[in-house]
């Protein structure tokens, strides 16, 4: 019994310690703003790595999710003779929820795990240490551009996901199932509010982008510098990011859309 209590205490201390280290790490990264002349090219390179290279998976997933939404929505709405509202249903679902959430999950799986593995390997091969010994702060040079790139790329990816999803929904709903195109776009236009829906979805994706990028770079920087340690850190990045995104989504949805 006492062993279990002691084990629980140890685990709690580890979690609190890890949260403390992660916060300290974040403060260090945010405080060390790189010089624009050197920092901007590094940021652009990372935007390409975490953003542009994630486009394919985001576009393809968005397209299929939009198409599936149209199929499912049509089946349900046609029971009530409301298939004309399919555009409204697809756009609100994507802009408010699926766009930010699924794009963030895909981002964590593709770009987040890659960031963790890259930084972890740099640590294991002493590249971060050698940078420190050359008088170059790795938090500024390596971590900050990756964190900011994730923060910037994620909302853009979420927007692209929603746009492609709506287009996919239009292909199935209008071109295949024969919903009147005017109703599809007209209902969407009248029901989607820029502030309440688009901006709230955008804010969600900004929060998710920040959290996913933070988890990814921290796990890489804090990992045990062995192959097993890097593997564990990469797994943690995907698991923690997914849980954080889903948990935060509930909180943000309750705050933004909950009519209590």
């Amino acid at each position: 019994m006492m062993d279990r209590v002691a084990g629980l205490g140890r685990s709690s201390l580890e979690v609190v310690g890890s949260l403390g280290r992660a916060t300290q790490f974040l403060v260090g990264v945010l405080a060390g703003v790189p010089k624009p002349a050197t920092g901007f090219p590094l940021l652009v390179r990372q935007l390409y790595t975490v953003g542009v290279l994630s486009l394919a998976i985001v576009v393809v997933s968005g397209l299929f999710i939009g198409m599936v939404l149209a199929l499912q929505g049509y089946t349900i709405l046609s029971d009530y003779g409301s298939e004309a509202a399919i555009g409204q249903m697809i756009s609100l679902t994507l802009v408010r929820e699926l766009g930010p959430v699924v794009a963030a999950l895909l981002f964590a799986g593709r770009a987040g795990s890659a960031l963790t593995a890259e930084i972890g390997l740099m640590k294991a091969t002493e590249q971060l240490s050698s940078m420190e010994m050359m008088g170059v702060d790795p938090l500024r040079r390596v971590i900050a551009p990756r964190l900011w790139a994730g923060f910037i790329a994620m909302p853009i990816l979420a927007m692209i996901f929603s746009v492609v999803g709506i287009w996919g929904g239009m292909l199935v709903g209008v071109e295949w199932l024969g919903v009147f195109e005017g109703s599809f776009w007209g209902n969407m236009q009248s029901s989607v509010d820029f502030i309440d829906d688009v901006m709230n979805g955008f804010i969600k994706s900004v929060v998710f982008g920040f959290v996913c990028a933070w988890i990814a770079v921290y796990q890489g920087y804090d990992c045990v510098p062995t192959s097993a340690g890097i593997s564990s850190a990469t797994t943690k990045t995907v698991v923690y990011s997914s849980l954080a995104v889903l948990g935060l989504d509930f909180v943000l949805t309750a705050v933004m859309f909950g009519d209590f």
């Binding site: 091969t125 002493e126 590249q127 050698s130 420190e132 050359m134 040079r141």
Partner: protein, 270 residues
């Protein structure tokens, strides 16, 4: 020691994960000379370099480098001091996504605003010094272990540092690569007037090039002096280490329980 000390460690105590690595180490490293730090595996030789470089903070004691007390330096001042230091890591620690040329140019690009043609000339001079001017366009993955360390050496001297620290430079090298590294360390020290700290347990190679050496064991300096002084040191442990005897003050057997009990032959005549 006729030279003044570039690095001074005084009563340095350092612990990690509840284990005391250094238990009051006191050591002077003279300016412009090669000092070898030797000792059995796991005694904290690499840790000592990290303490000198400010990557690790001691629990107590004084670490002075070029007149600065390293553990008390602010982050910005520490990074400025490190511009005067070079360190050759055991793995080389080259940046794997850029070429040999770009690796050597890296500190120049970060710390200077020299024009591109001047950076090119300096990089080629440094690569020439280590015999790898012709390898400038190769990627780190295309280099052998010895070449990797030579490129890393060229990178660590790119900014003409005052101090260079070598972490196990000879580990895992074939005799030719080892000979090349020994020559480079000796030549760079004499031509650039560097203060060199060499961490190694390759006794013959280290003693052949160092002016001074010290041996660390059990968290303390157990012997220090010129190579000749060490060879005639009164400590049995120092002599065991230098001659590579398998048994002595450092026992062959890891501490274990009574063998008769373990083998289930208690009472039998062993």
């Amino acid at each position: 020691m006729e030279s003044s000390a570039y690095i001074t460690l005084k009563d340095v105590v350092f612990s990690r994960s509840g284990r005391r690595i250094f238990d009051g180490i006191t050591l002077d490293i003279p300016e412009g000379k090669i000092t070898a730090i030797m000792g059995p595996s796991g005694t904290g030789k690499t840790t000592l370099l990290r303490v000198i470089g400010g990557q690790l903070k001691p629990d107590s004691g004084q670490v002075m480098v070029a007149g600065h007390e390293v553990p008390k330096l602010k982050r910005k001042d520490l990074y400025q001091l490190r511009e005067k230091m070079g360190m050759l890591f055991q793995s080389g620690a080259l940046f794997t996504d850029i070429s040999v040329f770009e690796n050597v140019a890296f500190p120049l690009r970060v710390h200077t605003s020299l024009p591109e043609d001047m950076i090119r000339d300096i990089v080629l001079m440094k690569l020439e010094a280590v015999g790898l001017r012709g390898a400038r366009n190769l990627m780190p993955s295309e280099l052998s272990g010895g070449m990797t360390r030579r490129v890393a050496l060229a990178r660590s001297i790119a900014l003409d540092p005052e101090l260079i620290m070598y972490d196990e430079p000879f580990a895992g090298q074939d005799p030719i690569a080892m000979g090349v590294l020994v020559k480079l360390i000796r030549d760079l020290n004499s031509s650039m007037g560097l203060t060199s700290v060499l961490v190694s347990h390759d006794v013959p190679e280290s003693l052949s090039i160092c002016h001074y050496a010290c041996i660390i064991a059990d968290g303390k300096v157990i012997g220090a002096g010129t190579p000749d002084e060490l060879r005639n040191h009164p400590s049995e442990l120092v002599r065991q280490f230098l001659s590579g005897q398998p048994d002595g003050p450092v026992p062959f057997h890891y501490p274990a329980s009574d063998p008769a009990t373990d083998f289930g032959i208690k009472g039998a005549l062993l």
